[in-house]
């Protein structure tokens, strides 16, 4: 394996990161550069379809063993548990109210698909491949954190309980368990698994070849969106910003611990750390709006999009890979 610092630099100067920086800078300078909403959504669908399909096809090749089950179980547990930790920290150090702290916590327990995708690109830069099941781990980690977050937001508030429990309606349950991104990710994964490498071959010119290029355009959009969030941020204290930078490291630490327990290799350990350390901004926000309306999107979306995502993209990922290399002893 190459020197991690030169790799990190390579990563930072990859087109992907540079397009993110371009979008970020353009928005800070208030350029009118914009990616149409429908196109941003389409690219998100594409990335989820592609990563899901490729993961499933990979798994078909590799087969399932006990580590597979262990990884999936670990992912579910981590997604349930990390919000509790995040919540405790937020309440102790940042002075957020219960609802806001719970909502933020839910985002950090869940995962960011794009951060994961960027990490897999970093992997391929290092010349490593990874176990396709990691995509399934990502998929199962999306939802449990939402349940934890809602529980955190509601516990103790017996008074408002009646009204709120009523609000745990079909809409919300659907939003939580049948969120479009989860359904597409798992669906594409299963399809990739069924059709295997032969299926992948037929659609590789769509899901493999242009993947990195689409990611560039998508990250341009993410840069625009993240900086716009940052510009509009009015509710972000210094302590919250610190949380947004420290929590990914703490989440990643949980991932490393689980990885050591499961005896994972470098690639899988690093990816698990990336999942634990990343914060959702696709699936979780809509659920939180429905379930915890008192919590302010100005806080949780800004933290996830404008602080933690850029941190992970630029510094977090190379760091997690370097640490995973050391810990997995490869």
């Amino acid at each position: 394996m190459a020197d991690p610092f030169s790799l990190a630099l390579d990563g930072l100067l990859s087109p992907i990161i540079l397009f993110f920086a371009l979008g970020f800078a353009a928005s800070l300078l208030r350029s009118d550069l914009a990616v149409p909403e429908a196109v941003g959504k389409a690219m998100a669908l594409y990335l989820m379809l592609a990563i899901g399909f490729k993961g499933g096809a990979e798994l078909n090749k590799q087969g399932i063993d006990w580590t597979t089950a262990g990884l999936l179980g670990a992912g579910i547990v981590l997604s349930f548990v990390i919000p509790l930790v995040a919540y405790a920290i937020l309440r102790a150090f940042t002075g957020l109210r219960q609802a806001d702290a719970a909502a933020v916590a839910a985002h950090y327990g869940s995962i960011s698909v794009v951060t994961f995708v960027a990490a897999t690109e970093f992997l391929s830069l290092m010349g490593l491949s990874f176990d396709g099941v990691m995509v399934a781990v990502m998929a199962v980690m999306e939802t449990p954190a939402i349940v934890s977050g809602i529980w955190l937001a509601r516990r103790g508030s017996a008074a408002a309980g009646a009204r709120r429990r009523a609000a745990l309606d079909r809409d919300l349950l659907r939003e939580i368990f049948l969120n479009g991104s989860v359904v597409l990710l798992i669906g594409a994964f299963v399809i990739g698994w069924i059709t295997g490498p032969r299926g992948l071959e037929t659609i590789a010119p769509f899901v493999v070849a242009p993947f990195k290029g689409v990611l560039c355009l998508f990250l341009l959009d993410m840069g625009l969106v993240a900086a716009a969030r940052l510009r509009a941020a009015r509710e972000l204290s210094l302590r919250l910003v610190a949380f947004g930078l420290v929590m990914p490291l703490l989440g990643a630490a949980f991932g490393f611990a689980a990885g050591l327990l499961l005896g994972l290799g470098t690639a899988e350990m690093a990816l698990l750390a990336v999942l634990c350390g990343s914060a959702s901004y696709i699936a979780v926000p809509a659920s939180m709006r429905l379930a915890v309306p008192e919590a302010s999107p100005g806080i949780y979306l800004t933290l996830a999009l404008a602080i933690t995502f850029p941190f992970n993209l630029t510094l977090g990922i190379p760091l997690y890979f370097a640490l995973a290399g050391l810990l997995s002893g490869s």
């Binding site: 809409d171 959009d221 625009l224 696709i282 926000p285 809509a286 709006r289 309306p293 302010s296 999107p297």
Partner: protein, 102 residues
């Protein structure tokens, strides 16, 4: 040409709430509604703009024509539903041709 007086109810509400609002309309027997997409806006919760990857932050405008008494009932119901959410509702007078349609 005879026309009838009705009320137009305009509701601007976060996209994730759309289904809950239309369920209230249906529960109250409203005969129809139309949903429009909003592009950007500002309110007590600050500025927002279409285009984030999650549609949690987007807003919808729901327009519905109905008789006045129904409109007031719907408004009352909405007030308790939308309490914590980013949402506004307005009521205005309109004339329609086919009274039985609304």
């Amino acid at each position: 040409m005879e026309t009838h007086l009705r009320k137009r109810l305009d509701i601007i509400v976060e996209a994730p709430l759309q289904r809950r609002v239309t369920e209230v309309l249906e529960a109250k027997g409203v005969r129809g509604y139309t949903v429009l997409r909003c592009l950007a806006g500002k309110g007590h919760g600050g500025v927002w703009q279409e285009g984030e990857i999650s549609s949690a932050g987007a807003m919808r405008m729901i327009v519905s024509i109905m008789p006045e008494t129904q409109a007031r009932q719907v408004l009352e119901e909405l007030q308790s539903l939308l309490g914590d959410y980013a949402a506004i509702a307005t009521l205005s007078d309109v004339e329609v041709l086919r009274g039985e349609h609304f």
